[in-house]
């Protein structure tokens, strides 16, 4: 009992620390949102007269919205590529033996941990060698390839919890491998797949390090923002950031609901980051 009371006496410090860390994490986000309504623009304390001017400016800004459309297209395409190759890769790592498996496993996951500049530059050299003109397509290929790692990690983690006897039962009942994949494997991996899709989509929407080197004439949203930031602080960036934040929040709430409904657990994308056990993907 003494131990319990003394642990509690220690926790005020931890509580205070936690408050500080949360403050640190949320300060920039709060500042962004507050100053997106600030008539004086960015900076200056205290914020002055509230206004929606920056949102108005933003909505009339064609270049921003073009880049938003571009980013949405890229994110969707990247999601399809990453899932189309990442899900089979997880199945392969889970159930097939082949020469070079260890190398393949590490290679697939490398973009997850490798600074984006290395992946971006090496792809730039590939496209340069193949005389491929840089465009949104090269960005899609870059994002798709780099984010295979996300699909593979999430789905592989799902496969670890999945009872293989179910697939055996399906084959036993006369369904072939293709039918079994769509009727049993995919429905059981629904959560990891949706989670991976959401994560890939968000990461692609936000990606800049790889896109930075593969960009052609058309900008993605982060690169459009980047271009403007380089020219100086512009308050409509606050507005678009606040909107992006709200969308991210909506995505999290959506995912949270799905997950809680399905299994009462709420770790968003946690498999991705938990430990390097996942990074190495070993059974």
């Amino acid at each position: 009992m003494t131990s319990r009371s003394s642990s509690n006496s220690r926790s005020p410090w931890l509580l205070a620390h936690a408050f500080l860390v949360f403050g640190f994490l949320y300060l920039p986000i709060g500042v962004l949102i507050v100053y997106s309504f600030n008539g004086e623009g960015v900076g200056g304390f205290p914020p002055h007269h509230l206004t929606l001017d920056w949102y108005r400016t933003l909505f009339n800004d064609g270049a921003i919205w073009d880049s938003v459309i571009n980013s949405l297209e890229v994110a969707c395409a990247a999601m399809i590529i990453a899932l189309a190759f990442g899900v089979p890769a997880a199945l392969a790592l889970d159930r097939a033996q082949f020469p070079g498996k260890a190398l393949f496993r590490r290679l697939v996951l490398l973009p997850l941990i490798l600074p984006g500049i290395i992946t971006g530059l090496s792809l730039l050299m590939l496209f340069d060698l193949a005389h491929t003109k840089l465009s949104l397509l090269t960005i899609v290929l870059g994002h798709g390839t780099a984010l295979i790692s996300v699909a593979t990690t999430e789905v592989f983690a799902g496969l670890q919890k999945f009872d293989r006897a179910q697939e055996e039962a399906s084959l036993d009942l006369g369904a072939n491998y293709w039918q079994t994949f769509w009727r049993i494997t995919v429905p059981n991996l629904k959560l990891p797949i949706i989670g991976a899709a959401l994560l890939i989509f968000t990461l692609s929407m936000d990606e800049i390090a790889v896109s930075f080197f593969l960009i052609g004439r058309d900008n993605t949203l982060p690169l459009e923002i980047w271009g403007r930031l380089r020219r100086g602080i512009t308050p409509e960036i606050n507005a678009i950031s606040a909107i992006i934040f709200l969308f991210s929040l909506a995505a999290i709430v959506l995912w949270y609901r799905l997950r809680v409904k399905a299994e009462g657990s709420v770790e968003v994308g946690a498999e991705l980051l938990e430990t390097q056990e996942n990074y190495t993907l070993e059974r």
Binding site: S3, S7, S11, L14, L15, A18, V21, L25, L27, P28, I29, L32, Y35, V42, G43, G44, F45, A84, F85, P88, A89, A92, R95, A96, L114, P115, I117, I118, L121, S122, L123, M125, L126, L129, T145, I148, E168, Y177, T202, D206, A209, W226, L229, R230, I233, I237, S241, S248, L249, A251, I252, V266, E267, V268, L273, E274, T275, Q276, E277, Y279
Partner: protein
């Protein structure tokens, strides 16, 4: 139970894709690092180690690399100092609000990296939020200039960005510690402090290692925060690479530096993985 055809169908397409779009580019980077650039700005495909020699002899390259590592080391340290106690607090004292608090740590991860880095710029700038606040409450007469365009700004921003990354694996490893171990330790007469240092901390080391690796490697390779907030003294190695691939137009030298980073990162991953294995007892 899986037929040969099934295994081929799930193995060959990802294998081919990864070989084409990951392995080939990395190998190409390796090749490039041994090529050179002619005075006429074309790539000379003859093999030599000139680029690597330049890396060692020209001080700006290795000094920048060392500075980047020093920045990354500070980011890692601060992320751990912020992330570990938070993870410990949530895991052991989170109670019924655990899930909600966990989500609160994750949410910033979903907010654009660029936007958050930019937010720090609006906070730290000479007429930014912090400086005007300090003057408003008369804590400072003049704007504090060291806040922005300095290694300080870079370390602060990257710490902000990578703290959730270090938090996650640490939290996961703490969550995996069976609570009856803590009870057993108390039962055997250990004080809470002894229990923490002798039982909980050792068992959370794999999480600490994973988190530290994430923070170090990702901040080491960052080039956007330095560009945005670093100023001349906050330049990192990736900025050098960016300029070599851009204005300076020396791809082979840029490739050599990138390849060194790649090797460094892979070596770090290898070491961290080894250490994690050593410290995981399950």
């Amino acid at each position: 139970m899986f037929s040969r055809a099934y295994k081929l169908a799930v193995t060959v397409p990802p294998l081919a894709w990864v070989a084409l779009f990951l392995l080939t580019p990395y190998l190409l980077m390796f090749c490039y690092s041994f090529w050179s650039i002619s005075p006429a700005q074309t790539i000379v495909h003859s093999w030599n180690v000139q680029n690597y020699r330049e890396l060692v002899t020209v001080s700006v390259y290795w000094q920048t690399l060392l500075r980047s590592m020093w920045i990354a080391a500070r980011v890692t340290l601060f992320s751990l100092l912020l992330g570990y106690p938070l993870a410990y607090f949530l895991s052991f004292y989170g109670g019924s609000r655990k899930d909600l608090l966990y989500q609160l740590v994750i949410i910033p991860l979903w907010v654009s990296y660029l936007v958050r880095a930019y937010a720090w710029k609006t906070i730290l700038g000479s007429d930014g939020v912090l400086n005007t606040l300090l003057q408003y409450v008369h804590l400072a007469k003049h704007p504090l200039e060291f806040l922005l365009y300095s290694p300080f700004a870079v370390v602060l921003t990257l710490t902000h960005i990578y703290t959730p990354f270090t938090f996650l694996p640490i939290y996961a490893s703490l969550e995996h510690i069976p609570r009856n171990l803590v009870e057993a330790s108390h039962d055997l007469g250990a004080t809470p402090a002894q229990t923490f240092w002798k039982v909980i901390f050792p068992l959370s080391i794999p999480g600490v290692l994973a988190g530290a690796t994430f923070a170090f490697v990702l901040s080491l390779g960052d080039f956007l925060a330095p560009l945005l907030l670093g100023g001349p003294s906050g330049i990192m190695i990736s900025n050098v690479v960016v300029s070599l691939f851009g204005a300076a137009y020396n791809w082979p030298l840029g490739a050599a530096i990138s390849f060194c980073m790649l090797v460094l990162v892979v070596a770090l991953l290898f070491v961290s993985e080894r250490l994690e294995k050593k410290w995981s007892f399950s």
